[in-house]
């Protein structure tokens, strides 16, 4: 009996010690959980943080958990290879900023929401699909499926979010392709920056009026 108990204690200790490491590299659900944790946190503290605070809280987590270099190639599709290195870099920075800004603007209050992991499957060595649900306060659910792949450093990072069957990257790819083909790279960058500025202005206005949506 004693030996079993100490064995369990030792195992628990092992999990505690190695847990942090294991979740970083081995478990595709880990980055999703990390993202969801910070989203819940900024929702609950939305009013106190304000838009700026929410952005600062979510921005580092977004840049750690998403695979932006791969995302850039996906959303720009055939236009990616035609961009100068400096343009690619500029696009990735702006895109990452817009992602964080969108979360900061959208997750601006708490109404009893929670996240639930439905399943977590590795499709092969480098690809995984983590299915989750956002459960709203009234019990309605939104399915959120995360597609992940391992980066060059072997860590799992998020590639795409599919919300109720609608793929975020496919939407953006369609939009960006349309803008790239008709107006080109400078126009696309101007529009991305205008969105970020719009979120900031709306956030400031909400803070000024003393309420969030």
């Amino acid at each position: 009996m004693r030996t079993i108990r100490s064995l369990i204690a030792a195992a628990a200790l092992l999990v505690m010690v190695t847990g942090a490491h294991a979740t970083d590299a081995g478990d595709p659900a880990a980055p999703v959980a990390k993202l969801h944790d910070v989203l819940l946190d900024i929702m609950k503290r939305a009013d106190g943080l304000g838009y700026r605070g929410r952005f600062s809280a979510i921005e580092p987590v977004v840049s750690q958990t998403f695979d932006f270099p791969a995302i850039g190639r996906i959303v720009m599709g055939k236009y990616w290879a035609g961009l100068a290195e400096q343009e690619q870099k500029g696009f990735l920075e702006t895109f990452a900023k817009l992602s964080a800004a969108t979360y900061a603007a959208r997750f601006d209050g708490y109404d009893g929401e929670s996240f639930r992991t439905v399943s977590d499957e590795k499709q092969n060595e480098n690809n995984a699909l983590v299915k989750t649900e956002l459960v709203k306060g009234n019990g309605e659910t939104v399915s959120l499926n995360y597609q992940l792949r391992t980066d060059t450093d072997g860590k799992w990072r998020i590639l795409n979010v599919v919300a109720d069957g609608i793929s975020d990257l496919s939407l953006k790819r369609a939009e960006y392709a349309s803008i790239m083909s008709s107006d080109g790279y400078p126009a696309l960058m101007a529009k991305l920056n205008a969105k970020i500025a719009q979120y900031e202005a709306d956030g400031a206005a909400a803070a000024g009026s003393g309420k969030t949506r």
Binding site: A105, Q123, Q147, N160, I166, L169, S170, E175, A177, K195
Partner: protein, 245 residues
């Protein structure tokens, strides 16, 4: 004219349109983009000037319960189309379930005003003739933007006929149907106020955003929430391009 003939005509029409498009690449499913964008802009102008403001007033002056009742009523009268398409897709158990649902709501639910079935835990299904055609193997065909109605496709357009024919209100005098159609439209627009606000906030190019969202949502519904090709979504191409499928 029998329903058979109309369905056959609709099928033939869609087959004609679809055959030419299945060969095109995935990127090229919007051969009518020029016309579509014009209709989109007209719709958008009309929406901003008239429909949206009316829907906003409507949602302000009516209590939530009333809007819910209106939504339930129109959902229920359109439910025969769901049942018919259950059958066309060979979902016989679901057809039985949906028939029960329709009968329950039409009687105990006061002609559909109350979603009694939903309240007692009966799932509400979403089927239409476009999904049936998808199930039968038809490709989506050219994307269409219809006046006032908005996003559609060659594959989904025949549903306009089936849902019209299978809606009991079609057979009521137009003196009643027309005001009801307007109410239905305004109510539906009111239900989408939040969704379109988010779209307007997020979209860089609202036209392509809407088109892509429409397509994916249709795909999602055809496969009842489990589209097969969304599992493994990208391949690495030789020139370094990643593609999402």
């Amino acid at each position: 004219m029998g329903i058979h003939k109309i369905l056959a005509a609709a099928l033939a029409l869609s087959a004609l349109g679809l055959s030419g498009c299945t060969m095109g690449s995935k990127e090229d499913k919007d051969p009518l983009e020029g016309v579509n964008r014009v209709v989109y802009d007209v719709n958008d102008t009309l929406d901003k000037a008239l429909i949206k403001p009316v829907a906003k007033v409507y949602s302000k002056v009516t209590p939530k319960g009333v809007r819910m009742g209106v939504t339930n009523f129109f959902d229920n009268v359109s439910y025969l189309n769901v049942i018919a398409n259950d059958l066309l897709q060979g979902k016989f158990r679901q057809a039985g379930h949906d028939t029960g649902r329709f009968l329950l709501n039409s009687t105990v639910g006061f002609g559909g005003l109350f979603d009694v079935a939903g309240f007692s835990g009966m799932v509400k299904n979403d089927e239409d003739f476009g999904q049936t055609l998808g199930k039968w193997g038809f490709g989506e065909g050219a994307y269409l933007v219809l006046p006032i109605r908005g996003p559609n496709s060659l594959r989904d357009a025949p549903d306009l006929a089936t849902s019209w024919l299978l809606n009991p209100l079609t057979y009521v005098s137009s003196g009643i149907t027309i005001p009801l159609a307007i109410l239905s439209g305004v109510n539906e627009r009111a239900n989408y106020l939040e969704a379109t606000r988010i779209r307007d906030e997020a979209a860089l190019d609202p036209y392509s955003f809407t088109r892509e969202a429409y397509r994916q949502n249709r795909e999602y519904k055809i496969y009842d929430g489990n589209p097969p090709n969304q599992d493994l979504e990208y391949i690495e191409e030789p020139e370094g391009v990643l593609k999402v499928y």
